[in-house]
Symmetry: C2
Subunit: 276 residues, 2 copies
């Protein structure tokens, strides 16, 4: 497990909590994180060079930001065992699928994107139950059946719900289901901050809406960069919707807003959507 922060640390913990736990080698560049992982029994051993973790394993999971994953996968292409399965937990899959192809490991690359996390980061935030009942999207354009089955079984054994999807569809969904809510939370929190309000001045609804605003900029920088072509027009569309709502308020057309609220209440309760 290359990277033992929230995602990688939780994966290591969950694997080691198994009845027949595999050997788990963890990598972190930070000595205190390595020490904490050993003390918690989350890893069999730790290494301070990512290359050492990549060389020995029959399954290599990158649990670092997307740009670091890209750099390390390139650097490790001659270090991996020839039969090693390569995976990751990044929340965008198209770029890594293309990279796997260019590195000639498309038959043994299976991407994973667990739909869980939290705004805290680092090993200290990790927990063995993080993946329980969480959807985990799996992408494997060309991986062989054995490798696919192996990764699917691994996540299922941690209590997660693996679902297969193609990388492009996955990323199109993620831009809306994950990146858009993230930036929206940041921009809302920034607006409250500018107005002189603190996080304690909002009610439970406002707290939900600004929780993501505490997420790690280090993680999101890469994700936003990779999705910028798809994300920018989606942001503009929502900006237009806000302007439309403002216009409705200004001309006293409350019916227009009530219709939106009725549509989204039905949407949330899983009813058939009404008009478009």
């Amino acid at each position: 497990v290359i990277g033992i922060g929230l995602m990688g640390g939780s994966l290591a913990r969950a694997l080691r909590a198994h009845a027949d736990a595999p050997e788990v080698v963890g990598y972190s560049p930070v000595a205190s994180e390595r020490d904490a992982a050993v003390a918690a029994g989350a890893v069999s051993r730790v290494v301070e060079r990512a290359d050492d973790a990549a060389a020995s394993a029959d399954l290599v999971v990158y649990a670092v930001p997307l740009s670091v994953t890209v750099d390390l996968m390139k650097r490790h292409q001659s270090a991996w065992r020839r039969d090693a399965v390569v995976s990751d937990v990044c929340s965008l899959k198209s770029a890594l699928t293309a990279l796997a192809r260019s590195l000639g490991i498309e038959h043994r690359y299976v991407g994973a994107h667990p739909m869980t996390g939290g705004e805290s980061s680092g090993f200290g935030a990790s927990r063995s139950e993080l993946y329980r009942a969480a959807t985990v999207w799996l992408t494997a354009a060309e991986a062989a059946g054995d490798e696919r089955a192996r990764i699917e079984r691994l996540w299922a054994s941690l209590g997660a719900l693996p679902r297969w999807i193609d990388a492009e569809t996955h990323d199109r969904i993620m831009v809306r289901a994950s990146h858009l809510p993230q930036l929206l939370s940041n921009l809302l929190a920034d607006a409250l901050r500018r107005a002189g309000l603190g996080p304690g001045d909002v009610g439970p609804g406002g707290r939900d809406m600004t929780r993501l605003a505490g997420s790690s900029p280090e993680v999101w920088r890469d994700l936003l960069e990779s999705s910028s072509v798809e994300l920018a027009p989606v942001l503009r569309e929502l900006g237009d919707a806000l302007d439309d709502a403002a216009s409705s308020l200004e001309r006293g057309d409350l019916d227009a807003l009530v219709r939106v609220m009725e549509r989204t209440r039905s949407w949330r309760s899983g009813e058939q959507p009404g008009d478009a």
Copy 2:
């Protein structure tokens, strides 16, 4: 308690759960709601005419939508006992403060706005613990000390945290801390719906961001109407911020977005805000 839905029902339940519970008369226009409140022991008795509840009580709390509160307060001005304290739980206070003045009850009107709730409505959603540890804003432009102390003690006795504020400041904050997040959640959910995504397609962050989209349009219609003059420019400002973020993505200026994310992470953790 005029209206025994989520807010009024919870207030009645909490009062009746007290060691020295007062007599609580509940009003609902809906027979099944009245029956449910009696069966749950949430009220001493129920009435099917709001006027009957208003006439007998030494404290009248309106727990109905803002426009209904306005209508009923006007209608009840000759029905109240002359020493009755009049209160409400609406989330906007300026209009009711002005109304109290015009009805000549400014010395015995104390407004309350509990910063809690939920997207479900009706007596079935009420619970005696709803107000525990919740901030309750209290406004009383001209109420006498006794009336102020009485309402403050009442909320404190339910485990809530009463805080005094003037009605205008309260409403300016609420537009940003409550109405803005509400509409944003609706507009985000509507965008996801238009893109063909269901509520189950989003991760935990997206779920937080769309939870409010299930709120009651019936309750919000009045609130949005009352706050439209203040709310419209606030919506436009956030629309501009979304456009700016899209422009940053388009020109590859990830630093600009990272700065926003760093600011809001600090804001959320209660650190001193950085640059504006």
